[in-house]
């Protein structure tokens, strides 16, 4: 059996979160009634002209600086010519051979190692409208609201090797553009869409196999599934003596398979040429400085810092940095002075579970990070146990209020008075002679039984560590 290696490159279309469109003043927001957010320029009316949105340029430059990319001093726009009803001008304004962002690199953690994925280029272009086939039997509806929305198309090198790694890269991109504030990251609304170029080759070979392109993948899961399926398909084709044909394929999540999109046509001739309606873009040092000032601490830097400063394991740093809002929540929690590892655990478990259950975003979390920090501090101080902490958290979530006030009002303060706890421990031991015998005969597990009884007797308010110590002492063979 041949051992195959897959080679994957992604093209990620990032919708830039500008207020207006890339070449017109029309509102770029998602979700209006069809064709209500398209002006004469977006409609490609005769005589109208594109005017470049400077904010889209700054966002692209911010991205370029964040991935340490080469940035040319000038770039320009080209026309990509093809006919389609949702492309009003009959050409898309894009960038062909002078993209605004050149070669760069995105660093990510995958499978316990740091991977550096090459970015070949990133260019600005306008989005097309949408063709709606489903609502109109035998007809096609055209909604041009999306026409002219700014896109940054980020093209990776074929540096990815597995479907999971490709999905991790898409996640890293997703985190990055949200950190940079250049995209809302809303996958359901198509704010990030991905095409995957996939090929396979016998492991150990340097050359690349013929590739196919899977279009329009807009979730991490579909991306992984589609690539996995396509790899299997290509291997099957090759092992049965066939040849992979270069083509564009579409993934159908319902049947979990890809199928050819445009038949076996040769690559379309887009007849690119420089758009004479737009001047070349001069990337001045001032513009670069302005864009650079917008680059915040990036996920990779945060991961490093969380590891070095807080001693967090990689799994924690990856989780906490994937979403800038989560990272901000974590940092605000730690800023109250509580322990970082405990804070990380609480955020990854209780906070995330509660958010998932209620469908809330962490930016809208009912428990403010300062409150969570206070709660964690009480646990660390031994005022309450971790388990009681969960109860306090739920009260904070449902009703709000002050951590200490909740603890006092509900009598949740841990029983740490050694005399009182000692009395309870001795009572429990005295009440269960049979189990005492078993313990003394060497069945250490019975200790758990005693702990449970003591906790029950204290209403969960005892410090389990302290209970353990006292029990061992009381059970020691007389």
């Amino acid at each position: 059996m041949q051992d195959w290696e897959s080679v994957i490159g992604l093209e990620v279309h990032v919708q830039l979160a500008t207020r207006s469109k890339i070449f017109s003043g029309a509102d770029a927001a998602f979700g209006a009634a069809p064709n209500t957010r398209a002006c004469a320029v977006d409609l490609g009316m005769p005589g109208v002209l594109p005017v470049l949105n400077g904010e889209a340029v700054r966002m692209a430059l911010t991205f370029g600086l964040a991935i340490d990319a080469e940035i040319a001093r000038t770039c320009r726009f080209d026309r990509k010519n093809y006919f389609y009803p949702d492309l009003p001008k009959g050409y898309q304004i894009s960038q062909f051979d002078q993209p605004i962002v050149g070669a760069g690199v995105i660093e990510m953690e995958f499978d316990g190692v740091t991977r550096r994925i090459g970015i070949r280029r990133a260019h600005l272009e306008e989005d097309a409208g949408k063709s709606l086939h489903e609502d109109y039997p035998d007809l096609t509806g055209i909604d041009l609201n999306r026409a002219g929305t700014p896109l940054l198309e980020v093209v990776s090198e074929p540096d990815l090797r597995t479907p999971a790694e490709a999905a991790a890269f898409f996640r890293e991109m997703h985190a990055l553009v949200r950190y940079l504030g250049i995209c809302d990251g809303n996958l359901n609304e198509g704010s990030m869409r991905c095409d995957a170029n996939v090929s396979v080759r016998p492991r150990g070979e340097d050359g690349l196999g013929e590739r196919t392109e899977i279009k329009n993948l807009n979730s991490f899961r579909f991306l992984r599934q589609a690539i996995a399926h396509e790899i299997d398909r290509q291997i099957e084709v090759l092992e049965s003596g066939g040849r992979v044909v270069r083509e564009t394929r579409l993934y159908d999540p319902r049947s979990d398979e890809t199928r050819p999109m445009r038949g076996k046509e040769l690559s379309e001739d887009y007849r690119y040429f420089p758009d004479p309606d737009l001047l070349p873009v001069r990337v001045t040092p001032e513009l670069l400085a302005e864009a650079g000032a917008r680059v915040p601490e990036l996920p990779r830097d945060k991961r490093r810092r969380y590891r070095d400063e807080f001693g967090l394991p990689d799994a924690d740093t990856v989780f906490l940095t994937a979403d800038p809002d989560v990272a901000a929540y974590f940092e605000a929690t730690v800023a109250t002075g509580c322990g970082a590892k405990l804070a990380a655990n609480w955020i990854m478990d209780r906070v995330t579970a509660s958010l998932n259950r209620t469908g809330l975003d962490i930016a809208r979390c009912p428990v403010a990070p300062e409150r969570l920090g206070g709660l964690i501090a009480r646990i660390e101080e031994g005022v309450i146990s971790g388990k009681i902490g969960a109860t306090v958290f739920d009260v904070l979530w449902e009703e709000g209020g002050d951590v200490d006030a909740i603890i006092d009002a509900r009598g949740l303060r841990q029983v740490s008075d050694a005399d009182e706890l000692g009395r309870i421990v001795h009572q429990v031991v005295a009440d269960h002679p049979e189990q005492v015998g078993q313990y003394r005969a060497g069945r250490e597990k019975v200790l758990g039984f005693f702990v449970g009884r003591v906790m029950r007797a204290t209403g969960g308010k005892a410090d389990p560590r302290q209970v353990n110590v006292l029990l061992r002492e009381a059970l020691r063979t007389p």
Binding site: G44, M45, P46, G47, V48, V51, P88, G90, D275, D277
Partner: protein
């Protein structure tokens, strides 16, 4: 009220109350109606014109309004006019009513000018004779059997026949200068970027430039002053101050050998006499060479065709414009809408343009044409190291008979003297400078970028010494 009166005199007449703007407008509307056979207009907007004239009269009554307030004009039907059909002389846009004004239209309206209608032209500005118009050609007022030139033929005819005092036009490869020469009027193509292209239906975006026709350099200068200037809606419009006439007592005027040799005898004599007139005014005539002139027409037709092929893709029958009935499918809609909506010459240029941009031909045609374009620009810039302006013929001959030039390439050669300045983006003007066989001849003055002021000064001086621009046909 007299036709062929200068804008300045019309302004004085309005100010004195010799006539109202409404009367002035009615007078010209009547002339338009009477000269219907010239086919200069695609649409006359009488009611709108009268309303605009009345507004101008109210301004006059309040003591407001500038030099152009109440002055009638006509727009080439390539300029979008809000609420008024703008056809580009194409079946494709025969019923297209734009919801916006071109910047040129808005600025001239803001100056108080009264638009009487939309003038005839070659379809999508593609032609040198007006014969590609879906509405039939405008006719030369000096000889109705002859072409008025193109593509801005209707505007040149309207001014030449005294139907309006002035009119707008666009010039991509000679479309203002050549019809101005054929119809015996003054026409200016400004520097590329001087006048906003917003709302001017695109033919070849890197070459298209709006300009004006008038009875005299003075009138053209007045109109230019109101239409020029940076426009935030057109990224290629230049941030320059207003044009100022800047005459010098003694300038050097280059006569490029490539333009002057080989002219037919009577044309040559006529043009040379015009050049001598400038010499007589104290300027020096300097022989120069622009060696890449020959390559201009082929380079122009490659670049203009390539840009046009993309610019005209939007006419697909989907959102506006001509739409084939009962399409079988999407391809059928595209094919039949475009086949029936565009005329032969437009289709020819879309096809050649598409071809020159295609894989395998791009380098040989489009890129090579761009290299030629740079050479031509360099020719001019070098020449302007030695001379202040260039004098040349506008066209190889006077107006030809309608139907006489039926070979497309022969028609393209009509543009041999106008396309070089277009490729170089330079300001150029056509001045009436005599007659050959009873037909007007035009002298072309070409200046360095944004030196319209120099051309206007020379042109004024020429018109102070000659009366060719005052002659007009019997209409």
């Amino acid at each position: 009220m007299q036709p062929f009166t200068s804008i300045a005199d019309l302004g004085r007449g309005l100010a004195r109350g010799d006539y109202s703007a409404r009367e002035l407008t009615s007078f010209h509307l009547e002339r338009i109606a009477a000269a219907d056979g010239l086919n200069a207009f695609i649409r006359v907007t009488e009611e709108r014109a009268l309303r605009a004239a009345e507004a101008a009269d109210r301004r006059i009554a309040r003591g407001e309004g500038g030099a152009l307030n109440g002055i009638p004009l006509a727009h080439k039907d390539i300029f979008c006019t809000e609420g008024v059909a703008t056809t580009c002389a194409s079946r494709m846009l025969a019923d297209f009513v734009p919801p916006y004004d071109a910047t040129v239209v808005a600025r001239l309206a803001a100056a108080g000018m009264v638009c009487l209608g939309k003038t005839n032209m070659d379809e999508f500005a593609m032609g040198s004779s007006n014969e590609t118009s879906w509405f039939g050609p405008a006719r030369n007022p000096w000889d109705r059997g002859r072409a008025p030139g193109g593509s801005s033929g209707g505007s040149a005819v309207a001014v030449g026949a005294g139907l309006v005092p002035c009119a707008t036009g666009t010039d991509t490869g000679g479309s203002i200068r050549q019809p101005a020469a054929f119809c015996g009027v003054t026409g200016l193509k400004p520097t590329y970027g001087r006048v906003s292209r917003y709302g001017m239906i695109a033919f070849a975006s890197s070459l298209d430039q709006g300009g004006a026709f008038g009875r005299s350099v003075e009138d053209v200068e007045t109109v230019l002053g109101a239409m020029e200037g940076h426009d935030p809606l057109d990224s290629t419009s230049a941030a320059r101050g207003p044009t100022r006439r800047n005459g010098a007592a003694r300038t050097r005027i280059g006569l490029p050998a490539e333009y002057w040799s080989g002219l037919p005898g009577d044309m040559g004599d006529c043009l040379l006499a015009a050049a001598k007139e400038l010499e007589g005014a104290g300027h020096a005539l300097v022989p120069i060479s622009l060696p890449h002139t020959d390559a201009a027409v082929p380079a122009y037709y490659v670049i203009a065709g390539a840009e046009a092929s993309a610019n005209l893709s939007r006419y697909d029958g989907v959102r506006f414009g001509f739409r084939a009935e009962e399409p079988k499918d999407l391809d059928d809609l595209y094919r039949r809408s475009r086949a029936a909506g565009f005329g032969t010459e437009v289709k020819r240029r879309i096809l050649t343009g598409t071809y020159t941009l295609s894989v395998g031909y791009y380098d040989a045609y489009y890129l090579k044409a761009q290299r030629v374009r740079r050479r031509i620009q360099q020719d001019f810039l070098q020449a302007f190291d030695e001379v202040d302006a260039i004098a040349a013929p506008v066209a190889p001959g006077p107006a030809f008979e309608l139907g006489a030039v039926d070979d497309p390439v022969a028609m393209y050669r009509q543009d041999v003297f106008t396309t070089p300045a277009s490729l170089a983006g330079l300001p150029a003007m056509s001045l009436p400078c005599g007659f050959v066989g009873g037909l007007p001849v035009g002298l072309q003055l070409i200046g360095p970028p944004f030196e319209e002021g120099r051309l206007l000064a020379l042109g004024r001086q020429f018109q102070q010494r000659t009366d060719w621009h005052l002659r007009h046909p019997e209409v």
